[in-house]
Symmetry: C2
Subunit: 367 residues, 2 copies
């Protein structure tokens, strides 16, 4: 998910065409259905070029003709509209006890959302990936790619996992990528929320930050490992991580019973809302230290907004004010709660493949 090296290569017509395809797609996303003449007038491309580009896009089923436009004198012009339905992209979120598969079409509309209990084997991942890909292909869609969202502390390398999954799929032409869950969740926030610059704070595995800086995903973000102080000082995850928050907030609950983090966090929210002092203090404590962690990011990287994600979003009502009090002493930055829920990383994995089309890299059309 890092940016590629920008070594200059001789520029030619293929680059020009790719850029111009991106210009046409972007115009239609921003302005809605338009005639060829209107596209030409507003993009600065010649009419002949627009005709050729839109022909290519129609052939790739990314545009369709929607009949004549009414608002002009003379021969009515055919209007072109974006058509996302011929393409699908799949994200899978890999958690310790659950797999989630989510597919969207090129317009971002959700095509499927499946959850499966898992023991964490590659075979289970491959089986679910295969079923999801088959389903959207049966619907007549070309699959742009499949992204596996993994927690930052996964005990295998991303490249290994990608090779094992890609090698086991029946269709070898499916593009498989692997990326960190927090980064992909940030990508989902970027595409759906329109933010070009944000830090998504995930509590799902330790305490991770997904960073999109000036439009580009940035590696790193292992916020929970932060520690400053003499030997033996707790890490930020010890102080502000979801697991330690839940242990502090629910001292009467057997830790063995807390493996489903989602329902434990819901219980904390219920108790905090009911005025339970122990739960309230635990959330306040975590929120203050979370704010110190956000201040680290604000000073070192300076994202424009912090998005409290997944389990932190569930508790944002209490966490955000406590965190904001710490943060405002450093670099006042808005803190908002994510509305994408617990499978934002799967969504981010799915939308990550749409970008290649946005930038004019049209897929081969054999599905």
């Amino acid at each position: 998910m890092t940016t590629t090296r920008a070594e200059p290569q001789p520029a030619g017509f293929a680059d020009v065409r790719t850029t111009n395809l991106a210009v046409v797609l972007r115009h239609l996303r921003a302005h809605g259905p338009s005639s060829r003449a209107a596209i030409a007038a507003e993009t600065g491309l010649t009419k002949a070029t627009v005709s050729s580009l839109t022909g290519d896009l129609i052939e790739h089923r990314l545009l369709r003709e929607t009949g004549p436009s009414g608002n002009r004198i003379g021969r009515p012009a055919t209007v072109l509209a974006l058509d996302g339905s011929a393409y699908a992209s799949i994200g899978m979120q890999i958690a310790p006890d659950q797999l989630t598969a989510l597919a969207v079409d090129y317009s971002g509309a959700q095509l499927l959302l499946w959850h499966r209990a898992t023991a964490g084997t590659t075979a289970e991942i491959v089986a679910l990936a295969q079923r999801a890909a088959s389903r959207v292909r049966q619907q007549g869609r070309h699959v742009l790619g499949l992204t596996l969202a993994v927690p930052g502390d996964l005990p295998v390398s991303g490249a290994d996992l990608r090779d094992r999954v890609a090698g086991s799929l029946r269709r070898k032409d499916l593009v498989v990528t692997v990326a960190g869950s927090a980064t992909l969740a940030a990508l989902a926030e970027q595409r759906l929320g329109g933010q070009r610059d944000l830090a998504y704070i995930s509590g799902a595995a330790g305490l991770e930050a997904g960073l999109i800086i000036d439009g580009n995903p940035v590696r790193g973000g292992r916020l929970g490992r932060s520690v400053l102080g003499p030997a033996g000082t707790p890490t930020l995850a010890d102080r502000a991580g979801i697991a330690s928050l839940v242990r502090r907030a629910l001292p009467d609950v057997d830790p063995e019973a807390l493996t489903d983090l989602g329902s434990a966090v819901e219980t904390v929210a219920v108790r905090a809302r009911a005025g339970d002092v122990t739960a309230g203090k635990a959330v306040e404590h975590a929120g203050g230290y979370l704010g110190q962690g956000l201040a680290l990011l604000a000073n070192l990287i300076g994202p424009e907004v912090f998005v409290l994600g997944d389990h932190y979003a569930t508790l944002a009502e209490w966490l955000a004010p406590a965190a904001a009090r710490e943060l405002e002493r450093h670099a006042p930055t808005p803190i908002v709660a994510s509305t994408l829920g617990l499978h934002a990383a799967a969504l981010g994995g799915a939308v990550s493949h749409l970008h290649q089309v946005d930038i004019g890299r049209l897929p081969d059309n054999d599905r």
Copy 2:
């Protein structure tokens, strides 16, 4: 110094030409003097295109013909060589009590290095900038730009300072930019050391990190402000900053006498080398906490190498091993000492304008 937005624009022949100019310049930087035919053969450009591009570069005095090449049969081909001497770029480093001006030509050769004591007024900055620009213009060079390197904690905004300085210069066509000292020092390390990915750690003003990630400067880097712990916990600058290090290492020296940080740090180095226990312990203490700070950066951003800069470089012999012990528990990353000295930010400011030529944006030639 942030990356620009990559909104697609219709691509045309101007972009193609700019890219191809960059390709030719890059080829000559990498391979040394070459004939037009050799450039064409190795870049994949046609001979006609290479003739046109090199004609443009000769007109801009970036290439010169150096006579026939010997190693070929038949009519000898004229060899083209890069010529950096017609262009100059100026960096100025603004410290509390000193201004430094440094100019380089397009090949990176140093043209001047001036220091002035200062009370910190805009008039002093303008006067020195003007003298430096006049000097290199008298030598027949076109000035690509002037960059002011400011500490991260400067009490005015960069844009304000730029406007005041640019507005007071006699020549209004001189491009003036302002950027953080640590970032510019990192840029100098990148251009001269060839590292595409590094964190330059500066002790000159607080404790700042200049970040170049995958070839691009990244904003932020205010490492000294980091703090994690209960209310009243010292910041990282309190624990690992140069000012606090010097106070701990030289308890017998009047703090009022320590305004020249450079000579105080030299004294610490002399005492540490002589086996002075107080100085040795102070450097060890700062080095350990500096390592915790580098670990924050390693976990959050993951630079490929840490470069201990300016005053930290002077003490690197003792700081680096102590820092490495903390860092290796997180993400083992090389720690090296900068060799660019105390005016690396001025050098970075100067070289920052050379990049526009590298990427094929040829300046107007009226100096």
